[in-house]
Symmetry: C2
Subunit: 238 residues, 2 copies
Amino acid sequence: MEDSKREPAGILYGVGTGPGDPELLTLKAVRILREADVIGIPSTKKEGCKAWQIAVQAVPEIEKKETLFVSFPMSRDPAVLERAHQEGAMQTAKLLDQGKSIAFLTLGDPSVYSTYCYLQKQIQNMGYGTVMVSGVPSFCAAAARLGISLGEQGEALHILPGSYPLEAGLGFSGTRVLMKSGKQIGAVKERLLAENCSSKMVENCGMPGERVIRRTEDIPEDAGYYSLIIVKDKEKWD
Amino acid sequence: MEDSKREPAGILYGVGTGPGDPELLTLKAVRILREADVIGIPSTKKEGCKAWQIAVQAVPEIEKKETLFVSFPMSRDPAVLERAHQEGAMQTAKLLDQGKSIAFLTLGDPSVYSTYCYLQKQIQNMGYGTVMVSGVPSFCAAAARLGISLGEQGEALHILPGSYPLEAGLGFSGTRVLMKSGKQIGAVKERLLAENCSSKMVENCGMPGERVIRRTEDIPEDAGYYSLIIVKDKEKWD
């Protein structure tokens, strides 16, 4: 088909849903979800997807929209990941070629450790237009839930993903945020206690099953995947 | 007056307005601004206050509400700061005692280097209830404007306030965000060039006068206060 006969391609939007509370969606996220032709879902089905569960509470009409499922496997095998990303990009490009705009859901904010960014990079490389729509990141919502500041003037704030070496991370001065600590929570707690680190934790912030823990000693060994720990020097909590 | 005759005290809300685009207010921020009796403004007047300018575009009816001005001087003198914070807390408490709820505006997110947290601490110590309402922090909006990720799996993300020692900050591995670099932009640019750092900058993100700079060499010497620089290793930008 010649270019001149083509529909103008659709735009891919990466839409942050915030970490849990549907009221933390931005006005812009709500508008883009309402306007989009297709809702992109980073999972194989709606039910298991936190970002979908949040978005559909804020904007129920997305239930009736066309959906695109792009599953990002939790594999460390580069070949498996590469294949999944390419497959996702092909499906996405097919819809964009039909002139459809896609609002691709992403938990929290799309710039903070999101798998959406892998999809965006491939779609950009294929020559399509993309737009990121910011959301509230999980660490801001957790700080709000605890009623604390993440950093006072002059101090650094270090955001550390679950896979970051814990020992190196705890060595930073200032505030340290340990994202998604759930998988190795026992080891993390042990280390925090051994280093005499003062910490607070929020699990499932703004979601069903939310738990707020105000002392390292009280961190539960059964904490789930969406557990976020904030570590500060003792005197900084007061 | 006896306690039993008192109105129940109002609640102090710290409401993040996001960094500039009024569409980045959350649904919750909009609701709290609509419901609040008083709008708290971190300045001596509305006109000079970015947070007010953003909020009033998203929720025009706040124009008609009672206002509370709490000015936080840009002083490093602890006595001056202490006096200003105490004076602000007294004014705030007076309104809360009248049973009024206050939505105190704060640029970006209230947990990220906000002066609101000083006010909140004092109000908490006086025994009043406080609630933080998250907003999109400036670095997330700047990343979205640039269409980039702030951190990929396994990497740390370091948020560094303008007053953080630059040399130490640039020494971190992973992504480094230099907040509010405007005041010493010349020295920052010089250092970034000397260290062969690869960076991008957004000035006044989502506000009038927004500028997007994609190379260290192009950072303008006249960049203003709301300039945010994102530094990554060269190969990480692709």
